[in-house]
Symmetry: C2
Subunit: 430 residues, 2 copies
């Protein structure tokens, strides 16, 4: 019989090797992905970013989607300040140019705060959504720009916009322009408290004053997100009434497993900050394991885009497609879940999702990821960017996974002398 | 060598037999389809129709979509007055109850004319679209109700709503509530003049006074639809500028083959009424053959939902799906095209589309048709009705094909004595 200590040591070595392989893999993939956006998406003439990019990066439409402008500014700044190798002047310059484009053009009728959803290449508004999301990504962009440059005007913009968003959500949505109709219930899409919670984390990061300022808001967001757990904890529903009741019909039964997983890691960050292990277990159970077990396609692999809580057929044509972002969010959620709980089942789910994701979505030929596969995993849309896919979910996932994997490896301590992780052999096999 | 006259006679016999088979097939299918809606969709309590019906007809959502309410009223009345076997009191009663439901609840803020897009089961507005389509289907319903019942209040409603629609389209769209934005071009979706042209045909049917009243409007619609033929006649584009120029980007390159085919038969009816053979040939060329040749999937059969005029990847997730309605519209278009031109190539296209359609969309088990297949022809959504699929495209197609096939057979004259068309053997094989 082998020595138990030796066995454990061997297991640890095996785990270290696999983590090492994945760390290297996401690191290199992040470099490739950022290279793709730097090469193809910068509008040198007007500032801001092209996001409608074909398989090879060619621009197929010059429209500028405000969500994606804000997200790319945020992503560039975040990489610039978190990774030594991305502290590059081209990244910062492009982020600044994107920020200036937003400052100049995003708002439809300044000094009003309402932002457009999409702008022409030179910044004229084309469409306005009656939601808060353009404004949220605007706020994220401005706050990161401030964090990187130290320029107060960016932070003032972020704070003013944040006040406006909170007013719309918690006091009076009239400014969003949605008509009040007698048949419309006060519905809460989970996206709203999720988005606000991520802003609370964003603005409060390493800032005690703002952490305190938004503490009550953060608690409120978490309370509202948790209300989406319904039917005695058996399902997470995308839409509930404002007082946390299930709604009638398709709207009420609508499920979005990727969104639930994304909410999962937003909530985990919050629970971690609060030091609340009971909440942490609840989140892992309801926002990580539940959507995975209901949402993973047993036949072809991958997460369904939409589901119906009663198992009926959803009415959205794309319900059975496999989209890139639920998979990036699942990678973050399971790796973070493992990191905070140490439960090896979560690490294995990370591997399962990551293997599928790297195999099906990555484009080894032209870089970046495909966004839209059919149920069987075949590429349905060859575009690399579009109205809803920009430089955001993929690099955010890769960057966060690189960081978490790095921290996990550090926790394991240095590799014993003489051991050589199988990185170089596994690598590039995908 | 055989006698040429005999050969022609044999060909004619063969054609008669095939037409006969298809006439019987669409006739029986129409009966089954109407039976499905009569059994499952009538709301006995509030009037109007449930259209969110699962594969077996079970109601999965009680919402009432105004387009589909108007369309089902129209369809029931049209069948009632055009087919002896549908002159049934249950159909008329349900149509009346649907009409009363619309009269009472469709308008969001009476006496304003703007109609809701969707209502609760008991008629409270849930959503309003900033387009003219709810109002157009409302008008179609009211006009047919008048034609069937002779009650003037229905016709007054139709005429008043028609005035309002014309005002929105040709004078001032402000009442639709669309914001004026500096980046938005004055875009014309082909749906608008198409819809208006179909109303002109509807209201003017067997009514000389209204035919004259709307003659100029009909000409205007046709002029506007023809402006969507672009690039020297090589493509039909779904959106062009109001003065008939191609628009930039995805919006400008967007193609919808099924919609073009539907426009095709609307235009053919107009050309027939006008007795304009040159226009007829142009329509067959550009609105029937062009979308079929670009839109038919050479690999799996069926018409793509959306395409990009430059052959780029569309950004709509459902672009490569096969939907029921483009196929029903194609059946009408090719059969009507054959009927007006006598070109056997068009008859063969009808057969090709009809074979695919009956094979892939029909549900022999529970009745009605599936609406949404993936590219390979597999059922992607099992619903029989939903927010956009009601009692309309399928029965309209079947009823019109039955009528056209009947007329074609009559033109061929009576079958020679002793010949027995192979109807009974071919039948039911699908």
């Amino acid at each position: 019989m082998m020595d138990l200590g030796l066995l454990m040591l061997q297991d640890m070595e095996k785990e270290r090797e696999t983590l090492q392989v994945w760390k290297k893999r996401v690191e290199q993939e992040l470099d490739r992905v950022i290279a793709f956006w730097m090469e193809h998406s910068h509008d040198q003439e007007h500032g801001g970013f092209f996001t409608c990019l074909g398989r090879d990066g060619k621009v197929y439409d010059h429209l500028k989607y405000v969500w994606l402008q804000g997200r790319q500014v945020w992503m560039y700044c975040r990489l610039y300040r978190s990774f030594e190798r991305f502290r590059r002047v081209e990244l910062l310059d492009a982020a600044r140019a994107g920020g200036e484009f937003l400052l100049r053009y995003a708002r439809v009728a300044p000094p009003g705060k309402k932002c457009a959803f999409v702008l022409t290449r030179d910044g004229r508004p084309v469409k306005v959504q009656r939601t808060i999301f353009s404004e949220c990504f605007y706020t994220m962009a401005m706050n990161e720009l401030w964090k990187v440059t130290g320029e107060m005007r960016y932070q003032s913009e972020a704070m003013e916009m944040m006040d406006q968003i909170i007013h719309w959500v918690r006091e009076d949505p009239a400014g969003l322009g949605r008509p009040q109709l007698s048949g419309t219930l006060a519905t809460e899409p989970m996206a709203v408290p999720m988005m606000l919670l991520s802003l609370v984390e964003q603005l409060g990061e390493e800032d005690e004053e703002l952490t305190n300022k938004y503490a009550e808001l953060g608690d409120w967001c978490v309370h509202r997100i948790l209300q989406h757990v319904q039917r005695d904890g058996q399902v997470v529903l995308e839409n509930v009434s404002e007082d946390g009741k299930e709604l009638a019909g398709c709207l009420g039964r609508h499920q979005n497993p990727g969104h639930t997983l994304e909410a999962g890691w937003f909530l985990l960050q919050y629970a971690l900050r609060k030091g609340d292990p009971k909440l942490r277990m609840h989140i892992i159970d309801k926002f990580l394991l539940l959507p995975f077990h209901s949402g993973w396609d047993p036949e072809h692999g991958g997460l369904f885009y939409f589901q119906d809580a009663d198992g009926l057929c959803p009415t959205q044509l794309e319900w059975n497609m496999k989209l890139w972002w639920p998979h990036s969010e699942a990678m973050i959620a399971f790796l973070m879940g493992y990191s905070v709980s140490g439960d090896p089942a979560l690490l294995h789910l990370f591997y399962q999702v990551a293997e599928y994701t790297f195999r099906q979505f990555r484009d080894p030929e032209h870089g970046e990821w495909f966004g839209y596969l059919n149920q069987e995993g075949k590429v349905a849309l060859t575009i690399k960017g579009g109205p809803f896919k920009g430089c955001f979910h993929v690099p955010r996932c890769l960057a966060m996974c690189e960081q978490i994997l790095g921290a996990l490896l550090q926790r394991l301590g240095p590799a014993p002398l003489g051991s050589s992780p199988a990185v170089s052999t596994h690598e590039g096999s995908k």
